[in-house]
Amino acid sequence: MYLNLSWRNIWRNKKRTIIAVASVFFAVIIAVNTRSMQLGSYSYMIHSSARFYTGYFQIQQKNYWEKRSLENTLLQDSIDYKKLRNANYVKALAPRLESFALISFKNTTRVAQVVGIDPQMENEESGLKERLVKGEYLEPQDYSGLISKGLAQLLGVSIGDSIVLYGQGYHGQIAAALLPVKGIIEYPIRELNNTMFYLPLKAAQDIFLTGNRLTSVAVMIDDNRHLEKAKQALSAVIPPQYTLLDWKTMLPELHQSIQFDNISGMLMLAILYVVIAFGVFGTIIMMINERVKEFGILIAVGMKKVRLLIVTFWEIVFIAFLGAASGLIAAIPIVWYFSLHPIRFTGDVTKTFDALGIEPIFSFSTDPLIFLNQALVVFLIALATFIYPIYFMKRFEASRAIRS
């Protein structure tokens, strides 16, 4: 009967209740969509960066990341790929031997990032084969390479041409090779498109004279949400002499820009929450103040203040719940649509994304936690307005209220 009373009370003034519910409703829709777009975009940025460059993790020899020297490599045989693959959340592994070298064709020379790869594992990790726009993908036994489109254009190279690779190998030896171009790959990010050169791992190890060595094993996981758990799982299976770096360490600019953007997004949400809180608060104040005499009567006839507070509490819960639940229901199809059809930017805006080395896409996240968290936050904010009825009831005098 108390619930019944609360429910009927909120419909005493239908327009006001609808406005209060609508304010929570729109707050949830805006909060869910904003947050979903933010977190979805972060997730996309991180995932695409991890796929393009680094993986979510890299297993490396200690100190490799600081010096990027072939002297700090790890032994291929010391890596137990089976154990790594079996670790929770791990999706793919890619052993690499990376170095910078000069690449020349005719009279043109450019600096390139040369990466020795296991073609199949690299494709699983980074989808490299999908980037092939001309020629053929690498086979493990090939002694040829894949060149990025921008670099190929800078050098004037096409399929079948041979480039000269010249650099520093293991222990300061000279690394030099004449390598035919087997395929051309294209990246949407200029920095990668102008610098990358891939060749099979065995060929890279021969050219850089590293023997059975790698500079890193890149690890892809299913989602950034599982980064910490995956880190724990991987740390337990990598040899103790090696270190496990996550993308935050390897891509600090991206991490910082996400953190900064996240804070500004949170501030915007906080402003939205404050507006909502005052909206609901106003409704609660009106609902209470217009019933002062009624409260007095109810207390006079024997209703304890605590019970009156319970009735008021349920009124707030109903308003908050109706707004939060309907907002959630309305937000789901919007988020769902944009998760399937991300917003792709064109024009000058893309320069900002280019600077960060990410694709100019706003993707939406469908992580259920976003929906739950935002609805819960808005719901809790609405509940926080219950502080007014408590304050009101503490000072309430029935006899004065009845006379009012």
Partner: protein
Amino acid sequence: MALIEIEHLDKIYNTTAVPVKALNDVTLQFERGEFTSVVGPSGSGKTTFLNMVGGLDRPTKGKIVIDGTNLAELKGSKLVEFRLHHIGFVFQAFNLIPVFTALENVEFIMLLQGISKEERQKRAIELLEAVGLGDRIHSRPGQLSGGQQQRVAVARALASKPEFVLADEPTANLDSKSAEDLLTLMEELNREYQTTFIFSTHDPRVIKRARRIVTLCDGKVEKDETV
């Protein structure tokens, strides 16, 4: 022992620039089954007196003992609980819960008392039938006339089986016929259930039907006569 014993009751309001003595050394006793009118001009202290006896307000001085319980000893929720079980209220403006039906309004008091659903529904229907509203139990206050609403208020006041009912100007908002009907009803209930009724009023129709008339003037008992 009298049902209500009031000794040397004073009430001073300090909320105004000059303190107002609303009750001044009021000493009265009320027995079970009385049908009493507290009369007097506006500002004579009638409502203040009822508020004191109903435990809605605290006296500045003096003592109120109801059925052996000194109200001064009851604080907060104990006092609310005491009111729930011992005192019924009928207000000038009916003051029913607008979102509840007549039945639910009467039932609600018994819900506060923790009475089971079947029992409270049975008793609420009986009471509404007793006040002549057996056919309007599912009507909300807004769908009832003033007289009907006040009848529901009487049924509500009796629902908790109180020792006595305090009615503050119960006929003030009623037309003549409704007022006469209400008074007849309360007389019948008084006879049938031996419920004590204490009214504050300046309505001659109520005064005429009372069996005891207490006249207040400037907060003092001016007259106390049994008719």
